[in-house]
Symmetry: C2
Subunit: 348 residues, 2 copies
């Protein structure tokens, strides 16, 4: 089963509800584009590649429910929908990338509104299928970087749940395991939403990859004492120079790894690369609701004082010089990143 | 009220139960030394200075309940108690430091077992009073390092609760605030036991110091984007060369601060300095029960898969080169730390 799937008979987008895992495996069904916008905002679906494809299906729903009688009017409805969907989360570039691609599809010539609808659905389906194929290609390149006996720190969730299927960084780890390499994963719990403790641990359990969950702040200890061979995480937006915005905590992890001569890899489809941005300082960083940090329990009681406040940036930027390489479906990209990223993007 | 206080009439050690905060302010009363050992192990009392003084009162309780009829026999009972108390937690050196001091007191000449008991109680009381006085002295030196307008990241809890009263790093921050400096604290929540989110936030609320709680992994974002002026934390054991073992996460925080040219201070009484250890690699690092990491809730449900496992090192080592200075009751110690630490310890 995919993280998100189109149900043709019901004309609905089916999703795994990632907020319910690991205690419950629940599916939800969305039949309007505002429902898709909401599911991205509240992180029912998360992970840069997954939210890109979810938004594409959101555009399909916008077209289905548009009351426009001609193609031009429907295009106007689609532009409105794209704006709403695009404003749901600011950091990952896969979201505007997917919406641009859907709008470009809509800009073709169509005999009828139904033809436009059909083509948008076909395009969204292609994007979903491509995502799975890309991830398999990424995994093949990335698994080459993993050696038998490696202990790997992984941050956030980049598995099947973060994509349509298979995953990016976690897909690399999964393939290395399936190749028979004896590996062990230290799973950063990834506060505040615990995507590591909840989702990555759940996926690794399914794949039977040996792992231990650690507090995010413990990674430095394992790195400094020589217990880690590699660090892998995903990426939500990569600037032209190779700076990577990814889940909060990626920067401190990459810095501690680099300082201790442990290789650091960001694993990304090329749809995550934003050549329009000079460097990571230009990437918008989402700050989410403070309750995500404050809603903590300790021994069954609230862990923070009643009047407490919090700051909650959801992403940070890891400067390119901390990466050993970026792993894409076009191959493993080494420094100098600015040249080499432009090269693979030109070849596409 | 002090974090721990001797009740002479009941011959009990009274403590604030730090596991119940911030939702409940509860006192507990210990009347045997194994109960004190247990309270240190299960972190009813925590913080290097506080557990040192708690252990000293544990020795008083051992003397009170010893059935020895002569001083020599009581000394043997005290040696057994010191071993048990000393084994409760391995990393902080204040614990063996306090026990050694109590055993040295016991090695004097006494007319009767009651004289020995009285002198041990007097010595433990002196250690408690000295701790408060030292912390005030530390705060006076440390507050000089804080400027009006500073934003400060603080890790774990180093306040009144971590000591007999007043605190170390948090005592510095509190004094700077009381001096009228306009400061803001970013409180690392400090997974897994949340001493920051629970205890430091609670103390700062009492002192009316403005603060926001952050996930530990978010510190790097605030440091890299120039939003932080200083980093302060405590210390559980300082090696001869200035390497500091402190609560897990201190290393990654110090590294991110140092990389971004933000000064880093470890605030410690000199009882935390262990000149016998060449460097931080010789400091024993406690690994605590994995349930401290795994017992997480997300939206009211277990956040980790049922079969998950975890690693839980409770401390890490920050190499001396990442510190701007160490703040002690003898003054602010700058590099070269090896020379300057030995100098202040000789002067004592």
């Amino acid at each position: 089963m995919r993280t998100l799937e189109w149900d043709s008979s019901k004309q609905q987008l089916q999703m795994i509800d990632q907020r319910a895992l690991p205690s419950k495996f629940e599916l939800i069904y969305l039949d309007t584009y505002p429902a898709v916008t909401q599911s991205i905002k509240n992180m029912t679906v998360r992970g840069a590649p997954a939210i890109g494809v979810a938004a594409a299906f959101g555009m399909v729903l916008a077209a289905i429910h548009s009351t426009a009688n001609d193609v031009e009017a429907m295009r106007r409805d689609l532009t409105v929908a794209a704006e709403e969907l695009g404003a749901s989360r600011p950091t990952a570039v896969n979201l505007p990338w997917a919406l641009k691609r859907m709008l470009r599809t809509a800009s073709g010539s169509f005999e009828s509104v139904q033809d436009l609808r059909d083509e948008l659905l076909a395009e969204a389906q292609r994007m979903a299928d491509e995502d799975v194929a890309l991830n398999c290609q990424i995994a093949a390149f990335g698994a080459e970087l993993i050696d038998d006996g490696d202990t790997i720190i992984h941050h956030c969730n980049t598995g099947a749940l973060a994509t349509v299927d298979w995953g990016t960084a976690l897909g690399v780890i999964r393939l290395a395991h399936e190749q028979g390499k004896n590996i062990h994963v230290l799973v950063d719990e990834t506060r505040p939403r615990l995507q590591g403790a909840r989702l990555t641990a759940w996926e690794l359990s399914q794949y039977k990859v040996p792992y231990d969950i650690i507090s995010d702040n413990a990674a430095g200890h394992f790195l400094r004492t020589g217990q880690v061979n590699k660090v892998f995480f995903g990426g939500d937006r990569v600037a032209r120079n190779g700076d990577v915005a990814n889940k909060i905590g990626s920067y401190m992890l990459a810095l501690a790894a680099n300082t201790n001569h442990v290789p650091v890899y960001s694993v990304i489809p090329t749809s995550t690369i934003d050549l329009e941005l000079k460097n990571g300082d230009e990437i918008p960083i989402e700050e989410r609701d403070q309750d995500e940090v404050l809603n903590l329990q300790f021994r069954g009681k609230p862990a923070t004082p009643a009047n407490a406040s919090a700051r909650n940036p959801a992403f940070d930027v890891t400067p390119h010089e901390l990466f050993t390489a970026l792993v894409t479906e076009e191959g493993v990209v080494y420094p100098p990143f600015e040249n080499n990223l432009q090269k693979i993007m030109q070849d596409k």
